[in-house]
C-alpha cells in the first residue's frame, strides 16, 4: 500500500503537476482561439503567431529596460489595437462571402506566414530568453516545483476565471454571447455587432499575446515558436467545443494530463498521435465537442 502512495508522491504527482503547468499554458492560448472560433466562426490559423508576437514585443520592451510585471499589462494592451485592426481591416473584407470558412482560413494562414517571416527578419533566427522573474522553487510533500511555474498556475487560473466571469456574468459578455447566438437579432436589439466582433477578435489575440509573455521565460522566443502550441490549441478547442470556455478548460486540463501521464510509460513520440487520436474520435462521435458552442451550450 505504501508502495502505491510513494509511487503517487514521487512519480505520478510531480508528473501531474508538470502537466498542470502545461495545461494552464495551453488553456491560455486556446482561450482566445475558442472565443474567435465560437463568436466569429473564424478559424484563426495565425493564432500561434499572435502568441509569438506577444513574446517578441515583451523581448523588445524588455531590452529597453521595462520590468517583467509591467510587460504583463502592457503587452496585451498593445495587442488589442493590433487585433482590432486585423479584424476590421483584413477579416471583415472576406467575411461576407459564401465561402467564408475557406477564405478566412486562407487569409489567417497567410497572415501567420507573413508574421513568422517578419519575426525572422526583424529579430534574426536565433532564440532569445528573458530571465525568469521569480527564481528558486518550492518544495512540499517531497515534490519540487519552480516558483515561476507555480506562479503560472496561479495567474493562469486567475486569468481564466476573469475571462469566464466577463463572458458569463457581465453585460459585455452577454452582448458577445447574444451576437454569437443570433447576430441579426442582437443587432436589432442595439448590440453594436461590428464592434463586438472586432473587439472579441482583439481580445482573443491579446490573450494569446499575454500567454506569449508569460511563457517566454520558460520556453524561449524564436520566429517559429507559434507552431509550438497551435496544433494542441486547436485540438483543445475542438474537443472542448468551439466557443465554449468551460470546454477549453476541461479539454485543456484533460489532454495535457493524458500527455504527461502517458509519457511515463511509452515513448514520447506517441504523445502527439494520442492527443490527435482523441480529437479525431471526438469529431466522429460528438462533433460539437464536450460542451457545444458559445451562446448555444
Amino acid at each position: 500500500m505504501s508502495g502505491a502512495v510513494e509511487y503517487f508522491q514521487y512519480v505520478l504527482a510531480p508528473q501531474m503537476l508538470i502537466g498542470l503547468v502545461l495545461g494552464v499554458a495551453v488553456i491560455l492560448v486556446a482561450l482566445g482561439l475558442t472565443i474567435i472560433f465560437g463568436l466569429l466562426d473564424v478559424i484563426n490559423m495565425s493564432h500561434g503567431e499572435f502568441y509569438a508576437l506577444g513574446a517578441f514585443i515583451a523581448v523588445a520592451l524588455g531590452t529597453i529596460g521595462l520590468p517583467f510585471w509591467l510587460l504583463l499589462i502592457l503587452v496585451p494592451l498593445v495587442m488589442l489595437p493590433v487585433g482590432y485592426i486585423v479584424e476590421r481591416g483584413l477579416i471583415q473584407r472576406v467575411f461576407h462571402t459564401g465561402e467564408r470558412h475557406v477564405t478566412t482560413l486562407l487569409l489567417t494562414f497567410g497572415l501567420g506566414l507573413v508574421l513568422e517571416d517578419t519575426f525572422g527578419l526583424v529579430f534574426g533566427p536565433n532564440p532569445y530568453k528573458p530571465d525568469i522573474p521569480i527564481a528558486g522553487g518550492v518544495e512540499a510533500f517531497g515534490i519540487f516545483l519552480p516558483s515561476y511555474r507555480l506562479f503560472l498556475i496561479v495567474i493562469g487560473g486567475a486569468i481564466i476565471a476573469a475571462v469566464a466571469f466577463m463572458v458569463y456574468r457581465t453585460r459585455l459578455g452577454a452582448m458577445v454571447r447574444a451576437a454569437a447566438y443570433d447576430r441579426h437579432m442582437a443587432a436589432s436589439l442595439g448590440v453594436p455587432v461590428q464592434h463586438v466582433y472586432a473587439g472579441a477578435f482583439a481580445f482573443g489575440v491579446a490573450l494569446a499575446g499575454l500567454a506569449g509573455v508569460l511563457l517566454a521565460p520558460i520556453y524561449s522566443v524564436f520566429p517559429t515558436m507559434g507552431r509550438d502550441f497551435i496544433l494542441i490549441a486547436f485540438t483543445v478547442v475542438i474537443v472542448g467545443g468551439m466557443g465554449s470556455i468551460a470546454g477549453v478548460v476541461v479539454a485543456g486540463l484533460l489532454l495535457t494530463q493524458v500527455q504527461a501521464i502517458v509519457s511515463l510509460y511509452i515513448s514520447p513520440v506517441w504523445s502527439d498521435p494520442i492527443v490527435f487520436g482523441i480529437m479525431v474520435a471526438m469529431l466522429m462521435v460528438r462533433p460539437q465537442g464536450l460542451f457545444g458552442r458559445l451562446g448555444h451550450g
Partner: protein, 390 residues
C-alpha cells in the same frame, strides 16, 4: 579618316580580345544550406565561412585562373527540400560541386542526387557517422569531424575527469540524435562509464520537464545530450529551473551549445563540455588570422560551422589544382588522402571513406565562452574505416 577609323576598330577588337582571354568561365559551387527555420543560424555561419574563403581565393587569382562563384539555395533543414534545390543546382545551375547541407538526412539524400548527376558534394556540418560509415557514397565527402570523433575525444576527457561515471542520455529523436548518443555510449563504455538510461525526445519539444522524473530516478553523475538550437535553450534552462544542474556534469555533441544559442541559454550553459573539431580560441597564427578576417567581415566570431566551411573551399582548391581539372573522377582521385592546411591545423581526407581526420579539442563553457581544456590527436579520435563502397 578611314585610317583613323580602322585603327579605332582594331584597338577595340584587340581590347575585347585581351579581356576575352581573361574571362574564363567561373567554377560554380552550389550551396544548399538552411537559410530559414531552426538551423538558420548554422546556415548563416556556413554562408559566412564559404564567402570569406571564396573572396580570399578569388582575390589570389581563383582556382587555376578561374574565379569561384557561389550560388545559394535554402534547404530549410528539410531533406526533401534539399533534394529539390540540389537537383535544381545540378541540372539548371550546372554547378561543378555542391556543399552546405546541414541536416544529416539532407546530406544523405543530396548524396544520392549527386551520384545520379555524376558530381561531388561535401558537407561541412552534418555529424551522423553513417554519412562516411555504413551509408557512405563515392560522391560524398565530409570536411568536418563526425560524431564518432567528437565522442572519442569527449570520452577520453571523461575517463580522466569523471572516471567510472554513471551517464544518462537525452537526444532528439532522429538520425543525428540517435547516432550521436550511440557513438558516445560506445566510446564511454569502453573507458569504464556505465549507462543508467536514455530518452529520445521529439525535435522541437518545448517542455523537457516531463522527462525529469526519469532523469532524477536514474541518479546520474553525467548527462550526455545532443539536442541543438532552440531545444538546447529549453532543455538547459528547464534543467536549471528544476535545480537539476547542481550536481550534474553536462556533456554533449558539439552542435548542442554554439554561438547561436549560448546567449539565450545564459548561465545554464556554464560547465558544459564537448568535443569539437574547432574553437575560435585555438592559438595558432593561421587561426588568429582567420578569426580576425571573419570578425571584420561579419561582426561575429566564427564557430565550427564557419571554420569548416571556410576550410572546404581550400580543400576543393587543392584537389582541383592537383587534378588540373574539375572533372568528377579526376577530382575524386585528387581528394584521396588529400592533406591541406586549415585554421585548425592540417587535415587529411581519408581515401576509403572520405572522412576528414584532424586534431580534436575538448572545450568547456566558462564565463559564456568556450575554453579549450584538452586536445586529442587525429589518429586517436578517428576510429576505423567502415565504408564498404570504395
Amino acid at each position: 579618316m578611314t585610317y583613323y577609323r580602322t585603327t579605332m576598330i582594331a584597338a577595340l577588337l584587340s581590347a575585347t580580345a585581351i579581356s576575352g582571354a581573361y574571362a574564363a568561365d567561373p567554377i560554380k559551387i552550389g550551396v544548399v544550406t538552411p537559410l530559414s527555420g531552426t538551423y538558420a543560424g548554422i546556415g548563416q555561419q556556413v554562408k559566412w565561412g564559404l564567402e570569406l574563403a571564396t573572396k580570399e581565393v578569388n582575390a589570389a587569382g581563383g582556382i587555376m585562373g578561374r574565379q569561384v562563384e557561389l550560388t545559394f539555395e535554402d534547404e530549410e533543414a528539410n531533406p526533401s527540400v534539399a533534394v529539390q534545390k540540389a537537383d535544381k543546382l545540378f541540372q539548371v545551375g550546372k554547378v561543378d560541386f555542391l556543399t552546405g547541407t546541414v541536416n544529416s538526412g539532407s546530406t544523405l539524400a543530396v548524396g544520392q542526387v549527386a551520384e545520379r548527376a555524376g558530381k561531388l558534394i561535401a558537407t561541412t556540418v552534418s555529424f551522423a557517422d553513417s554519412i562516411t560509415g555504413d551509408k557512405c557514397s563515392p560522391n560524398v565527402y565530409r570536411v568536418n569531424a563526425r560524431a564518432g570523433q567528437q565522442s572519442a575525444a569527449l570520452a577520453v576527457w571523461l575517463s580522466k575527469e569523471r572516471p567510472k561515471a554513471q551517464v544518462f542520455y537525452l537526444g532528439p529523436d532522429y538520425e543525428m540524435g540517435r547516432s550521436t548518443v550511440a557513438a558516445f555510449k560506445s566510446s564511454a563504455e569502453k573507458v569504464g562509464a556505465s549507462s543508467t538510461g536514455e530518452i529520445f525526445a521529439p525535435l522541437d519539444s518545448k517542455d523537457y520537464t516531463q522527462y525529469f522524473g526519469q532523469l532524477r530516478a536514474a541518479k546520474p553523475q553525467v548527462l550526455y545530450t545532443s539536442v541543438a538550437g532552440n531545444d538546447t535553450v529549453r532543455l538547459f534552462t528547464q534543467l536549471q529551473e528544476f535545480g537539476l544542474l547542481n550536481n550534474l556534469t553536462v556533456v554533449g555533441a558539439s552542435g548542442t551549445v554554439t554561438a547561436q544559442n549560448i546567449g539565450a541559454i545564459g548561465k545554464a550553459a556554464e560547465g558544459f563540455v564537448t568535443g569539437v573539431g574547432y574553437s575560435a580560441e585555438i592559438d595558432t597564427p593561421e587561426n588568429k588570422k582567420f578569426v580576425a578576417a571573419f570578425r571584420a567581415a561579419n561582426k561575429a566570431d566564427p564557430d565550427l560551422y564557419g571554420a569548416d566551411s571556410y576550410g572546404m573551399i581550400y580543400a576543393y582548391k587543392a584537389a582541383v589544382e592537383k587534378a588540373k581539372s574539375t572533372d568528377t573522377d579526376k577530382v575524386r582521385a585528387a581528394f584521396a588522402d588529400l592533406k591541406w592546411s586549415t585554421p585548425q591545423g592540417e587535415k587529411t581526407l581519408r581515401a576509403g571513406d572520405h572522412q576528414a581526420v584532424q586534431t580534436m579539442y575538448v572545450v568547456r563553457v566558462t564565463g559564456g565562452k568556450f575554453k579549450i581544456v584538452s586536445q586529442v590527436k587525429g589518429e586517436d579520435a578517428i576510429g576505423p574505416d567502415t565504408c564498404k563502397r570504395h
